[in-house]
């Protein structure tokens, strides 16, 4: 079963949000989503300086077999994107909670987020 990291919060659209208090928060997609997508070969991220809105699409993740919209789990300004994952999208499969992070947002508003326990229970993940 796909791993769910207990220190993170999750959106219904399978994005994770780093729960650390101060400063911009890191965002990525869960291992559940990465495994379901298959081998990811292309990722389109929001631009640094743009504003993303919780629950709205802000990019896309494309695997050999399918393509999936990327939804912003929070509202705020994008402060940084992970160039490493743009160059090597396979990082999302190999290390979705680490080197496969996607972008950081200075949060003004959180969307509805789940705890790791809730997310794992509803999506068949493993804590």
């Amino acid at each position: 079963m796909s791993k769910v990291v207990s220190e993170l919060k999750y959106s219904a659209e399978h994005e994770w949000v780093a729960a650390d208090g101060a400063g911009p928060v890191g965002i990525g997609i869960s291992a559940v989503a990465a495994d379901a997508l298959g081998d990811i070969v292309y990722v389109d991220l929001p631009e640094v300086g743009s504003t993303v809105t919780a629950g709205e699409t802000c990019g896309e993740v494309e695997s050999t077999k399918s393509v999936s919209d990327l939804y912003a789990p929070v509202t705020g300004e994008v402060t940084e994107i992970n160039d490493g994952v743009v160059a090597d999208p396979a990082l999302i499969n190999s290390d979705p909670y680490g080197a496969g992070w996607l972008f950081k947002v200075a949060v003004t508003d959180e969307g509805p987020l789940m705890s790791a326990e809730e997310y794992a229970a509803t999506n068949g993940g493993e804590l």
């Binding site: 298959g38 081998d39 292309y42 494309e62 050999t64 077999k65 399918s66 393509v67």
Partner: protein, 377 residues
């Protein structure tokens, strides 16, 4: 839809496969990574369970004449031991299925339809057999089919074939088949071995009774591991066949599509003297210039950006709809998006740049000749 399981279902589960429904069958989609499986087939070898495919024997004094009537090709003309790719069409020229027929004797053919069409093909053959002295026997339910595909396929297979029969394998031509001894659990069994495939690589397909399928699967894995053989699922089968420019029934082919639009004109033998189902319609379609001067034509598209086209995406020229994508994805071997699409013939010339509407945003694709990938020989 009925849920069917192949005789190798436990092997797939044990290997950690994720499953998908395909033509009413629970089939392995991938075991680990579909990209790794794709590259294994291109560079070493992959092991496929194709037991969902149908197997129909056509036997009797009229076997050749009957297939000439039932299928679009001239099957009576192929030599014993050889195989032929053909189409079974309806009276309107629509494609019921694409299939491979193996001539196993003067009066004996094995016809292999696709999984989702097997019952329909068997029924159509039985119906068309009314005025011929033939027997049509559907053995799909008791027959498994295992493929070894990739440049190492021959070396792997030879490990299970007695030395005195090696030449049968090494001299077997593409699109030919032979009965050969294969060691399954140290017992040499005579099985039908075909040098065919759907990956664009060298490879073999082995027909085996269900009861022996698991042991043959394990024996091939044991023999192949040192050659880089890994089990390979339908996900990579799809990316491999797309790179090789091979049509997939349900995507490129259907009852609404005819052979000439699909680029399969040469498969239709209008030259054969005898009548066949769909002849009149196909002759008219050809005479009208469908797929060459009017209508649409199946083409290859190469993505000029990084985003891939997918099935059913609209193809545009200057904002006007001129076609539709049938299959598409990023090519693991070539590193750019590839797709097949039906487009209006006036935009089908190689080098034409078209747009594909990728979820609201147009991306440029160039018409290229098929296949996208051809192995070095």
């Amino acid at each position: 839809m009925t849920e069917n399981y192949t005789a190798l279902y436990d092997q797939h589960k044990k290997a950690g496969a994720s499953f998908t429904d395909f033509g009413g069958w629970q089939m392995p989609l991938k075991y680990t990574s579909e990209l790794a499986e794709h590259h294994a087939v291109r560079n070493a070898a992959g092991l496929f369970d194709l037991s969902h495919m149908g197997e129909v024997w056509v036997t009797g004094p009229d076997a050749g004449a009957f297939l000439d009537y039932a299928l679009a090709g001239k099957l009576s003309a192929i030599a014993v031991g050889k195989a032929k790719y053909s189409l079974i069409c309806d009276a309107d020229g629509g494609i019921i299925d694409d299939l491979i027929s193996y001539r196993r004797g003067e009066e004996e053919y094995l016809v292999v339809p696709n999984a989702g069409n097997a019952a329909q093909v068997a029924a159509a053959l039985a119906e068309r057999a009314a005025n011929f002295d033939v027997a049509v026997g559907d053995v799909s339910a008791e027959t498994s089919l295992i493929a070894v595909q990739g440049p190492s396929a021959e070396a792997i297979l030879l490990q299970l074939v007695p030395a005195e029969q090696h030449a049968l394998v090494t001299e077997l031509k593409y699109y030919a088949a032979v009965e050969v001894g294969i060691a399954v659990n140290d017992v040499v069994q005579t099985l039908l071995l075909a040098r065919t495939g759907y990956t664009g690589e060298d490879g073999f397909e082995i027909y085996v009774p269900n009861d022996d399928a698991a042991r043959l699967w394990e024996a091939l894995l044991d023999a192949g591991t040192v050659h880089g053989l890994i089990p390979a699922g339908l996900a990579c089968r799809d990316s491999l066949r797309l790179e090789a420019g091979m049509p997939l029934y349900g995507n490129e082919l259907s009852s609404r599509v005819n052979a000439y639009a699909a680029g399969l004109g040469p498969v239709v033998s209008l030259a054969k003297e005898s009548d066949f189902v769909g002849r009149e319609a196909l002759a008219a379609i050809k005479a009208a210039g469908v797929g060459s001067t009017i209508g649409q034509k199946l083409v290859g598209l190469k993505g000029l950006g990084r985003r891939a086209a997918r099935g059913h995406y609209p193809v545009l020229k200057d904002g006007t709809l001129v076609g539709e994508v049938t299959s598409g994805q990023p090519s693991p071997t070539l590193g750019y998006p590839v797709a097949m699409a039906y487009v209006d013939v006036e935009y089908s010339e190689v080098g034409t740049v078209l747009d594909v509407d990728l979820r609201g945003k147009a991306e440029q694709f160039e018409v290229v000749s098929l296949p996208f990938y051809k192995r070095a020989r």
